[in-house]
Symmetry: C2
Subunit: 194 residues, 2 copies
Amino acid sequence: MLSDLEQAVLGVVWLEAPCTAYAVRMTFQKSPSSHWSGSAGAIYPLVRRLERDGLLASARRAGDGRATRLYRLSKTGLAALRAWLRPPLPPAGALIAADPLRVRVRFLAALPPGARLAFLDEAETKLREMLILAESEARRGRGADDLYRALTHRGAALALRAQLEFIDEVRATVSGRATERRSVNRGGARRRGR
Amino acid sequence: MLSDLEQAVLGVVWLEAPCTAYAVRMTFQKSPSSHWSGSAGAIYPLVRRLERDGLLASARRAGDGRATRLYRLSKTGLAALRAWLRPPLPPAGALIAADPLRVRVRFLAALPPGARLAFLDEAETKLREMLILAESEARRGRGADDLYRALTHRGAALALRAQLEFIDEVRATVSGRATERRSVNRGGARRRGR
DNA sequence: CCGCTCATGTAACTGGTTACATGATTTA
DNA sequence: TAAATCATGTAACCAGTTACATGAGCGG
């Protein structure tokens, strides 16, 4: 059974093939969120292992004196990537993300009441920062280029909005008011009743 | 600088003090999501380290022949927990969760078109499963008991709803239709036409 | 030709997991 | 009294990080 990182590497190679391990590294590093740093010590041994197991195939780049290797997915590699995406999916608990913000809120009562709002305010600032980033990425390249790239950024935006709504509810509790719903959207009057 | 797991241990001890390391372990294990397994090999050395560094204090339990130790937060420990919750927060990228569902969707195009819906359907099933769990937990104990416990479950529910909305948008794309907004809430006559 | 990026690699370390071992206490 | 649970611990292992080293190719 391959790890999520290994599967993600297969995925990236599938997207960018033929590409070097270095390119895969860069893809991970440029990603704003991912908890994978794409460090050399992680990727190179991993890629070699995937090749050894027949999931990746490699070729030298023509006219390159370096040890540069261009990778692509083998038949087995594609099958592995597909199997990862096919039912049965991992158990429900493994599908939901461990939210570092939520963990903190769990212990927010440890802070003196006055300081709690400061936490929420800064969290909101940082989340909004990420939100405009994610939304601009979602807009960019919504052409046929890579539909799923835009879509995942859209997913990030939705997640961030949910976190902002959460912050709002926490704030309502912290400041002792009843939970009145306010919109997370900029300027939008969009709201579902409960 | 303490790791998130160490901080979470401080938090749990703060909540449940006086409590054993074993109780902390169980708290992590019972948690449906957390990527921390609360394994013995992780917790016991960690707790001993926290005590050595003066963040935790311990005492024997009266009339217990075992090596049972009851832990509580020291002054320094409480200060550390608070510092963790106080600005400056970690950089924006560290606040957002790495979503295993979104990673998969990034590579969904690797699946033959027919199989994509199967993925989305199973994901939806599992997410809804988690959602009813989170929402019942959020309702349970909304008294003064532990306000923040209920609140974090509410946060989980919001995150799950966002994921469900995401799945819906992906489905719209996969099945080639334009993105029309539908409610994620239960009770709706929600159904996708196929 | 100098410096930047491309490209690969390894060694030392860290933090967590699994799996096991031990024994006291509680409960059926 | 047997089984389950409480409670602590350790050893072997694994995956990923940091930090370093090396060198080819390329743009100014």
